[in-house]
């Protein structure tokens, strides 16, 4: 194998690695939700999904919250939306953080919230959006941050 060919392969691998790292970083960047920007992540099946038989427990999305900073005033609502195959979004649940105080946790100690996932969407990995909004109409939720450590489908 020529040196030139080795260089070409090496450069290609390096570029691929850089692209992979960039992609991971990009997803990591979106795990922090603020009032202006939602967290966006992919929920993957925790174990192979079985057929949607009637007697099977309904599938759920489990969202792991690893950090929270309350707003300067009031509280927030977390809204979980799932992207449907046609690109539109469907809200699957809303949650609060109680107590309304700051916390930071490892993934293994994350606070976990479960939301029913429509069976027709539980066919594999799904894209999730986690938004935070003020819990009362006049509020702004300014300063609030919610850190999502990951999500899975059970």
């Amino acid at each position: 194998m020529s040196v030139r060919r080795l260089w070409t392969i090496g450069a290609g691998c390096a570029l691929a690695l850089i692209a992979l790292i960039a992609a991971i970083a990009a997803e990591g960047d979106q795990l922090l939700a603020t009032v202006d920007r939602p967290a966006i992540l992919t929920a993957t099946p925790a174990k192979p999904l079985q057929g949607a038989a009637a007697d099977q427990p309904a599938p759920r999305v489990i969202v792991h919250v690893t950090g929270y900073q309350p707003p300067q005033k009031g509280a927030i609502r977390g809204i979980v939306k799932v992207q449907k195959p046609d690109g539109s979004e469907q809200e699957i649940g809303t949650f609060g953080v109680f107590p309304n105080t700051a916390f930071k946790a490892d993934f293994s100690r994350a606070r976990r919230y479960g939301f029913p996932l429509p069976k027709e969407l539980a066919t594999g990995a799904v894209k999730l959006k986690v938004e935070i909004v003020p819990d009362k109409a006049p509020g702004t939720a300014e300063g609030a941050q919610l850190e999502v450590g990951g999500a899975e489908i059970q």
């Binding site: 427990p57 309904a58 759920r60 489990i62 005033k73 009031g74 509280a75 927030i76 609502r77 809204i79 809200e91 649940g93 809303t94 949650f95 609060g96 953080v97 109680f98 107590p99 309304n100 105080t101 293994s108 100690r109 606070r111 976990r112 919230y113 479960g114 939301f115 029913p116 819990d135 009362k136 109409a137």
Partner: protein, 519 residues
């Protein structure tokens, strides 16, 4: 247990003997008589004996020191810096808080001497704003023990549908198994799920996955009220118990509907060792299995046996009769002049300018407060009740007086992108007043040009009339008032359907009528 809970209630019994024998608390409760009914705060008068007893009990507990005191009871749950014994994000969340509420209920009975007392509940699905009895700093000229000044929510702030709406409650009530409905079993820091009955599992905070009941209405109502209610010392707020009582009621409703509590002995076999306090100050250490059914504990959420499905057939005629009554009122040209029998009717001409986005239209109608009182004080089924018995819920809907308003010959020159919201007697109405406000009645809109199909063939366009049921709003706003108002102010507030679009709707009826139908 071989007898289902629903069967027990259907038979009108209190509880099976086997359960009683296994439960000293139940024996004590039954010795004091039948379980006491926990009632909704919905429409409860400020001087109702239940509210008065809770007010007195909170005052006495706040003045006390020692084990049976407001400060000590609250510290069981948590202090200003951390939770203490209460489990959150953990499958003991529901039974632990049931026992915790019981401590308050029994202490208040003892302190006040009112053995008929049972905690009332804040049914936030029906009443989206904080209960009136808790928001006034004074009551009868004295400091109100139920008022908490640090709350963030104002008396007019409303909980949204996404937090406590019927869709959420219905979603919760159909969830199974228990660990999905409630919250799942704790998983320790080493990623091993609970495998013994060590007390440390009770306080493994946020070690399970919160189900919708805890994550949505429970957590969000705490945050909505705010102040100390949003913090670890939330039990210092007297509204805490009314909120948790509704959570407890939803658990009860779920089990009545067939929801199975966890069969795992790691759940049912756990003892909350020295977690709670009896009225005499001694420790109260119930096991989860002691806490599964309210009646042996001395309270219940239902005062009438559930109707059998066959009873629904006999309701059909009553439903048709009620519908016919409404249609006959709508059909007359003016209910105030027609004076149908059994109907108190009133009318007012509309002289004010048409409602616009900038200025709502208000039409004031003088009514007889005595005629309105049965509407305000009629009983309504609590949220989720229809999941237990649609027949009972329908019967309660059919029972009692009702009040309708008719907007006659409505003029609406423009209506693009406009929703017309109807409110009743709202003193702070604006385009931003949400539909979850207690004064909200309903909305209407128009399709097509004024006159619509009526203008075909050159005929003069006929202006539409609308009939709107005011019953629920009157009940919600004036159910707790000793005397209903003598004026009903029907208010029409146009709002934009889509915020981005141009909304130019106006509306003005020529006359507004009110009809009160006695039971």
């Amino acid at each position: 247990m071989t007898t289902s809970r629903r069967e027990v209630l259907l038979q009108g019994c209190v509880i099976g003997a086997g359960i009683i024998a296994a439960n000293m608390t139940g024996m004590e409760a039954l010795a004091q008589g039948a379980p006491k009914l926990r009632r909704s705060l919905h429409g409860m008068a400020p001087n109702d004996p239940i509210l008065q007893t809770w007010r007195d009990g909170v005052r006495l507990l706040k003045a006390a020191s020692g084990n049976v005191s407001w400060a000590n009871f609250a510290a069981i749950h948590g202090t200003a810096t951390a939770f203490n014994l209460c489990p959150h994000g953990n499958w003991y969340f529901l039974p632990w808080h049931r026992a915790y509420l019981l401590s308050y209920e029994r202490a208040v009975r003892q302190l006040t001497g009112n053995n008929e007392f049972a905690l009332p509940y804040w049914d936030w699905t029906q009443d989206r704003q904080m209960p009136p009895a808790f928001v006034e700093p004074t009551f009868n000229g004295q400091p109100n023990p139920l008022f908490e000044e640090q709350r963030d929510a104002t008396p007019t702030d409303s909980l949204p549908d996404s937090t406590v709406g019927p869709g959420i409650i219905n979603q919760i009530l159909v969830q199974t198994p228990f660990e999905t409905f409630g919250t799942s079993r704790p998983v320790g820091p080493d990623n091993v799920a609970q495998n013994n009955l060590d007390q440390s599992w009770i306080n493994c905070e946020h070690c399970g996955t919160e189900g919708t009941l805890e994550a949505t209405p429970h957590d969000l109502v705490h945050g909505f009220v705010g102040g100390i209610m949003g913090q670890t010392n939330s039990a210092l707020d007297p509204l805490f118990m009314m909120h948790h009582c509704n959570i407890d009621r939803i658990w009860w409703t779920w089990t009545q509907g067939g929801g199975p509590d966890s069969p795992d002995p790691l759940w049912s076999g756990m003892t909350f060792q020295n977690n709670f306090v009896n009225p005499d100050g001694a420790p109260y250490s119930p096991m989860v299995s002691d806490l599964l059914i309210p009646e042996p504990l001395g309270y219940t959420y239902i005062d009438t046996p559930l109707a059998l499905p066959s009873a629904a057939a006999s309701q059909a005629a009553a439903v048709v009769a009620q519908s016919d009554k409404y249609k006959s009122l709508y059909a007359v040209s003016n209910v105030a002049t027609a004076k149908p029998s059994g109907v108190a009717s009133y009318a007012a001409s509309v002289n004010a300018p048409a409602a616009t986005m900038a200025k709502y239209l208000e039409i004031s109608i003088d009514v007889d407060a005595n005629a309105l009182a049965p509407v305000a004080h009629r009983k309504s089924p609590p949220s989720g009740f229809e999941a237990l018995s649609l027949t009972n819920a329908r019967q309660q809907y059919l029972n009692g007086a009702r009040c309708y308003t008719f907007l006659r010959e409505v003029d609406y020159a423009e209506h693009a992108n406009t929703e017309y919201r109807v409110f009743l007697n709202c003193d702070y109405l604006s385009p931003n007043t949400p539909t979850t406000d207690r004064h909200y009645v309903g909305s209407f809109g128009f399709f097509g040009p004024q006159g619509g199909h009526g203008g075909h063939g050159g005929a003069e366009a006929r202006k539409p009339s609308l009939g709107i049921d005011l019953t629920s709003t009157i009940q919600r706003v004036y159910g707790s008032a000793a005397t209903p108002p003598e004026k009903l102010r029907v208010q029409i507030q146009p709002v934009a359907l889509r915020p981005a679009g141009k909304a130019n709707g106006t509306v003005k009826p020529s006359r507004v009528e009110v009809a009160i139908i006695s039971a």
